[in-house]
Symmetry: C2
Subunit: 328 residues, 2 copies
């Protein structure tokens, strides 16, 4: 990483101006989406794409994506990621290979969906290679992938990261539970949805589920409840961030990954791990996810401006902040 | 109402010590409940019972219940309500009549239930009579009942209340929608759950549902989402209170009414209607409801101490309050 003299001169403990590295691992893919509001052809998708576009909203963070695509993947999509200052040297392009493709149909309530098609393609033989200058990244965001790929990335690191965040899903609990348990021992934060937390722990109560998951490794457990918000558990502390109530939800694809990108991007920016920072990270993640669902695919996130982000953060404050006298 | 000299002497605008009247209308009944954790015989139940026990936690509020029971209703239950300083002169006791009875079975997730038995009994011919000294009550809490009964209570008032809160359910939307629409024109706050808000408005998005319901009369709409918290809508303002994440939920019966009791009790105590007060009222309602579900029926609410209530309010603060720099 080249640090310009400009940055060094203006870096100070007061302005929090040092650069931090965020390593993102996950799919870069094609999606075809159908919701009650319309349908798309093959468009840009993938967990790492959404994470990257979301994390790009935090100053002083150098991000890199580790992933794989086929040579059918348009250069303009790669250029888009580069234009957001995301290092794409870790995205392998397989000659003659086809990019991972997912197709899904959302039901009327947008809370459930059917997978219509999954074509692993180049993902089937993916061996992640971490770029040399990101082997000492401060924050590692392991997007939803086979646990063995997530482990392989951790094995390539040359320095102990400040924070390792892992996202996973029920699919890996069904078919790679032992491997998942291995990687859980090596991470700090697990993000899963409520049903996945219940499946992994065998407990219905999310409080109890988080307690069980703590014993599997992660010190912090984030349970995502979609339109019902997200919970952060750490020992006996709990924090909750609602989802912003929206008039229209257009396409929920990528909302969880956008949340993870906001969470890990903010933590990388802050540079130190505390429950207080993690509370704010949950809010930033929820805030960015609230934009993601407003248009199809990555469309909204590609155009999102800082001013809009700040305005909506203010709405989050108004939505949740109160002042009660306890002595009444 | 007799105001003691002690109270008059110590009343001042600084200590918010004036007495306010809260009129509660709703069922006082027998419930028989079965949850995955056990089952009860006929125990004390009814919307007005839960509302009253919850509102009893607010100082400087004189509450009265308007309801009807049969002479099979135990004196000890009436004594319990009196012991909480609830005026029960408006609870009619029908000689030879049988008290309203409801029996329900909760499923494993406690989010859904089957009604096993409903015996209207004396409720079938209930004509509510508002006690003379509560016809000028500041706050009216109309618990879930036939809309015509709710209208009859409003017709008996001799002074314009500061706030009229109405709770209802899908049953009345199915079989008494026109009457419900009539009473909606005369209230300030409607509390319904998410599915009921959707049914009443014909809109899936809760933001849009609240907009439609505003046009039906209520200036404030509270949408209860059970374990997922509650939303308060007023014009373009929205506030959200989560439910406290609990290790064990034992019996959800009465949680919505306990919420309504905390909400209306707090508003009566404060004496003036503002969005800010209503935000706090939502928090108090959620806080009290979090106790209600910890034991069968009214058991937990009968014993609940102020100290416990305040401790948990502090937990609500920690659960939701954050401090984000918007300029980052």
């Amino acid at each position: 990483m080249r640090i310009s003299w400009f940055r060094i001169i203006f870096a100070s403990p007061f302005t929090n101006n040092y650069m931090s590295k965020l390593l993102i691992v996950g799919t870069v893919a094609f999606d075809a989406i159908e919701t009650p509001f319309g349908k798309t052809d093959k468009i840009l998708g993938g967990a790492a794409t959404y994470i990257g576009l979301s994390a790009a909203h935090f100053n002083n963070v150098d991000s890199a994506i580790v992933s794989v695509v086929g040579d059918d993947f348009p250069q303009e999509y790669l250029d888009l990621l580069s234009s957001k200052n995301i290092d794409i040297s870790g995205i392998e392009i397989v000659k003659g290979g086809k990019t991972f493709f997912w197709s899904g149909l959302y039901h009327n309530d947008l809370n459930s969906r059917d997978t219509l098609d999954t074509q692993l393609n180049v993902l089937a033989d993916f061996n992640p290679v971490v770029p040399q200058n990101f082997k000492d990244a401060e924050v590692i965001m392991l997007g939803n992938l086979h646990p063995n790929i997530q482990i392989s990335v951790l094995d390539q690191l040359t320095a102990q990261p400040k924070l390792v965040v892992l996202d996973t899903m029920n699919f890996w609990m069904d078919c790679a539970l032992e491997e998942l348990k291995q990687v859980l021992k090596r991470i700090d934060v697990l993000t899963v949805n409520d049903e996945e937390a219940r499946q992994l722990s065998g407990e219905y109560s999310l409080v109890k589920a988080a307690e069980i998951i703590h014993t599997m490794g992660p010190e912090y457990v984030v349970i995502k409840k979609g339109e019902h918000g997200a919970l952060l558990f750490n020992d006996n502390q709990v924090f909750f961030a609602p989802a912003l109530p929206l008039k229209e939800v257009f396409d929920p694809t990528g909302a969880g990954d956008t949340f993870a990108g906001g969470f890990s991007g903010y933590m990388a920016q802050q540079g130190n791990v505390s429950f207080n920072n993690m509370k704010n990270a949950i809010i930033h993640g929820s805030n960015l996810a609230s934009f993601c669902v407003e248009k199809f695919g990555t469309q909204r996130m590609e155009q999102l401006e800082k001013e809009e982000v700040n305005t909506r953060l203010q709405q989050f404050k108004m939505l949740t902040q109160f002042d009660i006298e306890l002595t009444q």
